[in-house]
């Protein structure tokens, strides 16, 4: 049907103006919202205070219900365990025997490892634990995979810190409130984590696919070097994520791509451990400007911005007359 020529609601001037102003506000609002969106895309950390406050207000609601949901998830497991007890027992006994053999080997290797490290005068770079918190909810309807934990800036949580469970890596902090923080999960499409295979040490990049799986891309070209069941740990390359945090296990391998799933399931993890940002070169001494000795697997990132004074000193030592060429802050 052709639309009517006028949209006048009647003869009342007041009603006519009201309708008109309503549309003006709506169109202006859409323009404003698009501008806000552009700001959010350019600077995802913008409106931090507002978003943090919303996070703080809403997290207690999710926290309260979490126990109930856990009860039902766990009781489902308990029932299925009851039915498959015999076959599971058999399988577990075999696994236990295999695990005990490997444990003895691992102890021997650990001892040897310590001895070699002492010879090389390497110390373990230890990333400190910031806090431990419960995971209370996750994004349900959005294309992003974000979870909420019940710890915020009052517990020392800062944007960028890695979050792990005892089983493995969960993600990293992208947004903080005072009592709550949002975690970008490993499976989010914007999450990239440098990992390496435990079996052969081949480095790779684990990228989320948004549907609960990860895409493992080897850094070197050629035949796909990974097999089903390969376990990946973080390599520590590039900082942020410390080395040797269990990350993913390969579930499917094709010629082009390697599909993995994260080892830690945020839905099952009791607690999330927030760790300090891993900064290998900031912790290392920088007195002579010579790169500190490191093992061949670890590639050092460029010096991070916070160490501005040290970086300038090193550059001044290397380049004649270089001054105030500090790296731009993030």
């Amino acid at each position: 049907m052709a639309p009517p020529k006028t949209r006048r609601p009647g003869f009342s001037r007041r009603a006519q103006y009201g309708l008109f102003i309503g549309y003006v506000v709506a169109v202006g609002g859409v323009i404003l919202a698009v501008l806000l969106l552009v700001v959010a895309i350019i600077d995802p950390t913008g409106f931090r205070a507002l978003r943090g406050a919303a996070l703080d207000v809403t997290t207690p609601i999710s926290s309260a219900g979490r126990g109930v949901v856990r009860f039902f998830t766990d009781s489902g497991d308990t029932i299925s365990h009851y039915f498959f007890a015999a076959s599971q027992n058999e399988g577990l006994t075999q696994q236990l025997a295999a695990a005990e053999r490997e444990l003895i080997e691992a102890r021997a290797i650990r001892y040897e490892n310590q001895r070699l490290k002492r010879l090389l005068k390497l110390s373990d770079e230890f990333t400190d634990e910031v806090t431990t918190a419960r995971i209370v909810s996750s994004s349900l309807d959005s294309s992003r995979r974000l979870a909420t934990i019940a710890a915020g800036s009052s517990d020392g949580v800062r944007v960028g810190q890695p979050v792990r469970a005892p089983e493995g890596l969960i993600g990293r902090i992208v947004e903080t409130g005072v009592f709550a923080a949002r975690v970008l999960l490993l499976t989010d499409g914007a999450s990239n984590v440098p990992v390496r295979s435990v079996r052969n040490g081949i480095p790779a990049m684990a990228t989320g696919r948004g549907d609960g799986t990860l895409d493992i891309k080897p850094l070197e070209v050629g035949e796909n070097p990974f097999r089903k069941g390969d376990i990946f740990v973080t390599s520590g390359t590039g900082g942020i994520f410390g080395p040797n945090i269990p990350a993913a296990i390969v579930v499917r391998v094709t010629r082009e791509e390697t599909l993995a799933r994260p080892l830690a399931n945020p839905a099952r993890a009791d607690f999330a451990i927030v760790q300090g940002i891993y900064m290998p070169s900031a912790d290392a001494p920088l007195e002579t400007g010579v790169a500190p000795p490191s093992d061949s697997l670890q590639v050092l990132p460029p010096p991070p911005p916070p160490a501005g004074v040290q970086a300038t000193k090193v550059q001044a030592a290397n380049v004649e007359g270089a001054h105030t060429q500090a790296a731009p802050g993030r």
């Binding site: 404003l32 919202a33 294309s143 499976t187």
Partner: protein, 171 residues
């Protein structure tokens, strides 16, 4: 002869119910995204959005298009979307619905579902597109389960909204 109300308090209460049930029910539906469930892929529909379009399709004259702005801001803050996403999509959708209402002679249940299906598809696509602008590399097929679930959930939400509307306007 039955009377509509016996005293001024009852009149006030019924007025509040008539005025605010749609907005409050939409806000509560937005709050459903706080459910303490952790899912690894987007499968659960955005109930706030479904509630919004169900009310809008049922009562076209009730809401001015600008009302979608504050509701969208609330949904963005609660759902963890980038601020402005729901504000922009919801309000422009309301304007599109107004244009559509001036052209379409009649709507029935199936037409409503079809219109809602288009609106949901647009919404899910826009959500995914804004996500890609913000660095999400996941492809659109990831969103298909949520798209299907949302379209199938719309009749249920519409039925619920209809029941609420009857209660709202009941004497």
């Amino acid at each position: 002869m039955s009377r509509i109300a016996f005293n001024s308090a009852a009149v006030r209460r019924k007025h509040l119910r008539r005025e605010y049930v749609p907005v409050v029910s939409t806000i509560l539906a937005c709050l459903l995204s706080l459910l303490p469930i952790i899912v690894s892929s987007p499968v659960i529909p955005d109930f706030g959005f479904l509630m919004l379009i169900a009310w809008r399709l049922l009562r076209p004259e009730m809401w001015a298009p600008a009302l979608a702005l504050p509701l969208g801001l609330f949904n963005d803050l609660v759902g963890g979307h980038p601020i402005g996403q729901s504000m922009a999509i919801w309000t422009s959708l309301f304007i599109i619905f107004d244009i559509m209402d001036s052209r379409v002679l009649f709507r029935d249940y199936w037409m409503d579902w079809l219109i809602a299906a288009f609106a949901i598809t647009g919404y899910v696509f826009a959500d995914w597109f804004i996500g890609t602008l913000m660095g999400n590399s996941a492809g659109f097929p990831v969103m298909l389960p949520q798209l299907g679930a949302s379209i199938l959930a719309f009749p249920i939400v519409a039925r619920f909204v209809l029941a609420l509307d009857r209660w709202r306007l009941a004497r």
